[in-house]
């Protein structure tokens, strides 16, 4: 059953110079004289259409300014669209920011009722869930203090708690999981996962890919107000990481002397592939993949050492040579070679990876070619990896899933 359907939704903003909010009498008179030249128009959303089924947790990703927040603001009725239509079946609740609807001078208790009323709950309904809300938020001891004395963490816990407990059939969330300690984040994530199972529909806007991948099966990616990808969350995430990138997945060099190389060896092509032989732009961490280098040997008997180096955004991630292959250190015949370095599952960290391809000789040392960024691809996190239940950021170049052994000794009896 379709819970949410958007058709051809567009939103146009007038730019700052003509924004009505800063209207003064002076502007009004200038406008009357017909001088609308100042400022311009800006399409924040451009003909966005999609559908979300009941019970789905659906992700919306995109860079800053891509239109994510505008989309959610229209769906939660804060902004009106310029064109198009949204239809939502079921009660809609939204949590667009920490502490929205909280009044700093009122106490936590008063604010729970006020906030819940704004979110659409009757007084008796709040009263029935009051204890649950307070317990989930963990601010019991500060209930009768004005919220202006709260820390931002307490603020956010209380707001999420209220929003989560009103149990609307459709819940719109914007970046709210970015705040709070790890413990609360886990509680909130579990809560969202369960809302999906209970038949509630959730739209989750985030630019944290890991959160989206963990919680959403389907997602869409916005860029400059348009949907540029929609479908399986992992695929969409890969597309998001792609925006603006080149050499995705495969690169073929021209025949002849313009390809990297010298009179001994010359690079022909590099690609990222799966076991089936298809070129891919993104790989899931739990799957094996290969980096295939295609090069030409031009001198009979050359002893060559091909190598690959993978870099992620921060550091070199992986070093791969043919050191384990039987052709290593042996004279090669003139001709074309295709070599594949197979990367086992659960080795890399998620992110954008760039591949440097090189061929050297060692006696004497000679660099035939070292070509940086031959291909770029994306490693996408999947459940069941080395991350486990941990939700924070993991700063490591690789993330192997290692076999652990556990030994237990009973505490000595005293």
């Amino acid at each position: 059953m379709t819970a949410i359907s958007l058709s051809q939704l567009s939103k146009e903003f007038e730019l700052a110079a003509r924004r009505p909010g800063y209207g003064t009498f002076k502007d009004l008179f200038r406008w009357r004289r017909g001088n609308p030249s100042a400022g311009g128009r800006f399409l924040a959303l451009n003909q966005v259409s999609f559908e979300v089924q009941r019970g789905e947790v659906f992700g919306v990703i995109g860079r800053n300014g891509a239109g994510k927040s505008t989309l959610l603001k229209i769906m939660s009725r804060i902004l009106r669209p310029t064109a198009g239509r949204v239809e939502m079946r079921g009660r809609v609740g939204s949590l667009l920011d920490v502490g929205a609807g909280f009044h700093p001078e009122l106490t936590g208790r008063e604010n729970i009722f006020l906030n819940a009323a704004i979110l659409g709950l009757a007084h008796s309904e709040v009263a029935a869930r009051f204890d649950e809300i307070v317990a989930f938020s963990g601010v019991e001891n500060h209930l009768d203090e004005p919220v202006k004395h709260y820390s931002s963490g307490m603020h956010m816990r209380l707001a999420f708690s209220v929003a989560a407990h009103i149990e609307p059939e459709i819940l719109l969330l914007d970046e709210v999981l970015a705040v709070g300690d790890a413990d609360f984040q886990k509680k909130s994530m579990d809560r969202i996962e369960r809302t999906g199972q209970r038949g509630q529909t959730v739209i989750l806007v985030s630019h944290n890919i890991q959160t989206v991948l963990r919680l959403c099966r389907r997602a869409l990616c916005l860029d400059q107000g348009r949907i540029v990808a929609i479908g399986e969350a992992a695929e969409v995430a890969a597309h998001y990481l792609d925006i603006g990138g080149t050499n995705q997945g495969a690169r073929v060099y021209p025949e002849g002397p313009y390809a990297p190389g010298d009179s001994v060896a010359r690079l022909r092509a590099v690609r990222v592939r799966n076991r089936a032989g298809d070129t891919v732009t993104s790989v899931q961490l739990d799957q094996e993949f290969g980096i295939e280098m295609h090069f030409e040997v031009l001198e009979e008997g050359a002893i060559l050492f091909p190598s690959l180096k993978l870099y992620n955004e921060d550091w070199p991630a992986l070093w791969a040579t043919d050191a384990a292959s039987e052709s290593h250190g042996r004279p090669r015949r003139v001709g074309r070679y295709t070599e594949i370095a197979w990367v086992p599952p659960h080795l890399l960290s998620p992110g954008v990876l760039r591949v440097t391809s090189a061929v050297h000789s060692f006696r004497p040392f000679r660099e035939h070619f070292v070509e940086p960024d031959t291909v770029v691809f994306h490693a996408v996190e999947t459940p069941g990896g080395a991350r486990g239940e941990y939700l924070g950021s993991i700063e490591s170049a690789t993330r192997p899933l290692l076999p652990w052994t556990v030994e237990y000794q009973k505490a000595p009896e005293s």
Binding site: G23, G101, L114
Partner: protein, 279 residues
Amino acid sequence: MRTDDRAASTHVTVIDPAGGSLWSVIAEYRNCGTLFWLLALRDIRLRHRQTAFGVGWAVLQPLLPMIIFGAVFSRLHVDTGGIPYPLFVFSGFALWLFIGNSVTSASAVFVNNFEMINKIYFPRAVLPLAQTAALMLDGSVAVFATLALSWWYGFGPSWTWLLLPLPGFAAAVLAMSASVAAASLTAALRDIKNAVPSLVQMWMYASPVLYPIAWIPAPLRRIAGLNPVTGLLEAFRYCLFHTAPQWSLMAQSAAAIAVLLCAAAWVFRYLESDLAERV
């Protein structure tokens, strides 16, 4: 916004550039009573928290002008139709302050609550309406003070006191319409925020708060009820002091209030669509 839990699965929200139909809007406002009362209580609590006199200000506010104007104008022997001038002034201010304060405080309500407007949806007009509702507490206290003062001066109790809810209701409608209009216009054009205090003061001097209707120049007097406060004050003083009622003025004002109500609703509907962008 809110629907009953059992009916919720059949509840359909449609969002398009035009906004909802008039009926869906009315239904929405009928459903947000809880929010309305909570906001009104919030306003009351905030206004009186950390003030020494609390709701006593509702009496002090008309009392001070009564003393000042009473002292100054007592030498002029203002003909108020037999009502002692200080009592006349107090009754005028008791009603006027409710309307004037409503407009003044409501005019900035959208701008001041921009955090809420920008982060969450609720029927927007609830903000100025709740603010006016909160001021009704002060207004009622002032009216009871007027009754006490009248009695002390030897007017009443009269059976016309029982009619007081009628001008009270009209005053509430007037204050709410003016508040919603002022709040919407201020959000659209910031200059209005600076103009409101002077406009409200001019409105007061244009209304028979301090002076009797007889002071209005004769040609204007016949249409003086087009200022809704004129007829309202007449009705109020008729109920209080059982003076001769000016039916035509009251009828004019009732019509003026109805027109203002429609105008305020129209202005609000027109400006509401991009309120979150304006504030």
